[in-house]
Amino acid sequence: MKFAVVVFPGSNCDHDTLYVLRHVFNQEACYVWHQDRDLQNADAIIIPGGFAHGDYLRCGAIAKFSPILENIKEHATQGKLVLGICNGFQILQEAGLLPGVMLRNSELKFICRHIYVKTENEETPFTTFCDPGKVLKIPIAHNEGNFSISTKGLEQLENNRQILFRYCDESGDITTAGNPNGSVSNIAGIMNRRGNVMGLMPHPERASESLIGSEDGRKIFESMINWNGAKN
């Protein structure tokens, strides 16, 4: 399977993501510069975390105008996989590929720590390897992760089972104590209606090796690799 990791000026989790794809999952993976127009016929696109354009104006507000976004939209309409991690999730929202918006964390502070999420839908290309009800320990690192959406929008997400991950406490209960940033209904990760574009605030590439604290993040990459293999 071939992954393309999109690099914007200000991205800083691009090399972490490429390292995991190549060295942990031995998959083919390459960088794609935000001004290119060629996705190197990758099977899946990953927009990594970071501070694209310094997060100035709004997170992802300037990135959505980069030429590569046209190709990413085209890639998505062909049903291929797109994963936006943290800043990548914000860019997908600004570009209209995912609903809702990320507001400042309710405590108005940058938060970097391990948190727990529960998988809410295991039948998607991103979550087939997640055991139902099992809690995943994955770190977050953001200032604007407070997911917000209209009540109607939330209803649609619930009805179409587009909510893939919710923040929870260690024992798996969806509580306000387990919600680090004030996200509506503890939402940590969602996908589009069609189910091939996912946005996730926690960083799975920072939880793919026990050496750095957790392997739970592997489940997401393994699901994508497995889904792609089954598709071809």
Partner: protein, 744 residues
Amino acid sequence: MSGDKKTTTAVNITANLVESHGLTQDEYKRIKNSLGREPNLTELGIFSVMWSEHCSYKSSRMHLKKLPTEGPQVIEGPGENAGVLDIGEGLAAVFKIESHNHPSFIEPYEGAATGVGGIIRDIFTMGARPVALLNSLHFGPINQAKNQLIMEGVVAGIAGYGNCMGIPTVGGEIYFEQNYSHNPIVNAFCLGIAPANEIFRAKAAGIGNPIIYVGAKTGRDGIHGATMASEEFNEDSETKRPNVQVGDPFLEKLLLEACLEAMSTGAVVGIQDMGAAGLTCSTCEMGSRGEVGIEIELDLVPQREKAMTPYEIMLSESQERMLLVAEKGKQREVLEIFRKWDLDATVIGEVKKNPCLTVYHAGEKVADISNNALADNAPLYDRPATRPQYLDDLELWENIDLPEPSDYNALILEMVRSPHLCSRRWVYQQYDHMVRTNTIVLPGSDAAVLRLKKSSGGLAISVDGNCRFSYLNPQIGAMMAVSEACRNLVCSGAQPIGATNCLNFGSPENPEVMWQFVETIAGISSACRIFKTPITGGNVSFYNETNQAPILPTPVLGLVGKIDDLDHRQESCFSQEGDQIYLLGETRDEIGGSIYLEQRGHPLCGPCPTIDLVQEKALQDQLLRLIENNLIESAHDLSEGGLVFALAESCYGLNCGARVDVSTDLRSDYYCFSESPTRVIVSVRETLEPDFLESISGIPVTKLGEVGGKKLEISINSRMIVSISIQELFGIWDGALDEIFSVE
């Protein structure tokens, strides 16, 4: 004499103008002698910056020479932008620590942020990829609102800059003492990795090579011009010159990537970051290091403001700028790279044979200063030093009447909440300490441990200082600072290999401060010699004082250690119930300067605890051997608060208790709270106890007890004096800062 032209707006140099540039009349005489004429205003500005304490180290240079800087692993010692150590497998560790104290008092967020930006530039200017940041912060008492605002701004500034750059801030230290209220201390440490044979130096070379300005545009920020009667300094010019530099981490991230890319082309001959007094320092230092001339044209310098004068351009402290010398003919390739990253990059001059700095503006020579006029005649002072009077008053502490505490539990619950001892989670959780996925021991342990993806091993880093003990005895305090930093590395399983240091003091013109400075240098030197950790660079920050009240002597040491096999990394928390707890090292009845003494209502006083550096080195060597032979499960060094709090901190991670039962002829409170150095708490698997005991020799070992239960229980001479639930202790310890800063 060539170059005696005055600028068109001739300004006569009055005694007042000289003084307001921080130059003494004698220093002004030296300028005239070395130039052979009166300087013009721009030249006066250049000399005032190059001969300032900050850039010339005129009051400290002769003492800094006493520091040990030799070592087989040293590739680059003091003199360059950062120190460089060989860490094997063809790699080098590039690191340094620098201060940004005064700006952080004026504007905490931007002061701290630009401090981080500056130290990062010192690292990648050597050709290294920055991989980790640490910081050492000192504030006034945190129950005062003003100090809370400063701390909140400083922490947010460090987070804002480091997080945006994608460089993990993996640790640091924070002290709260009265006389930092008006003089906060913000020291930033950065570590980078580079191929050992591809280190870049800040040396201009190659006559005719183009000099290229890259990075942000030049503005009027940070020019410390004086208020004077010439049109350079009229009222509105002052308002035009904001004395606060604002950092742009996004632009520096582009600058970092562009510089590393440009350096990989082989077309870069020399490169220097524009630190204090930007263009002036970089041009002068690059020229003198390369023993060549530098000629620049200020009209070519990208400018953010209109009609900037030569004085302003040469002295501007705008951030995120670098100066590099490229190989003649290859500059187009270099300029292309910076344009790709959307950065300004223009050739502003070239390297000349005649070793002097010549500056043109609007077709006129505005500065013409020979390299040795700046370097050889630079002032060098052997400031008088006298033992401070306060040291005698400290001896009177004998008659402090200190009854033993009646309720240890209540006292400990109170102390664990104090800003000296409580958790720093509220701070480091604002830093992205996981980006680059190399952080394998997270903040909160003794030292941060990083893996190196290109090699099998890793590095451990720690910054440590001890202003309280340095106040009581600067020489011993300095030894303690080096020892604690090394001990923290060893507790994490690393072999200390090199050090950097930042020396924060009051005015060098105060003989008592100068005595503290000289004693501190002596302490650092003897410790670094014994631990074989050469000094590879650092920074000196003087004049940290307000109305003649200097800060405590504040040496901050940054230590780098090497771990060959990452399996030998060690954490400070206990790992399993039933493990046996041992204390390595000896507890002495010395509570001078301790947090306990302060908690009991006494000011910072008393004789400083003593330290035996040979014994400390022996303990560190044996501890490292124990770790390498897998004979221990955890190691945590004892520092502020003493034994009780080191035990508590070792319990929190496992969320379990410890049962300690010891006998001593010390007073129980001295035993619990003494801050004697050279002590480490280790836990040993029961089955390995015999091997553990057998392999230790020459250092005191005391069995303390066992890991288990839900409480921290301590019995001394079979009297249970401490029994507190770890859950309760952790709750207070962990949430103390959150409570202080919560808005509800």
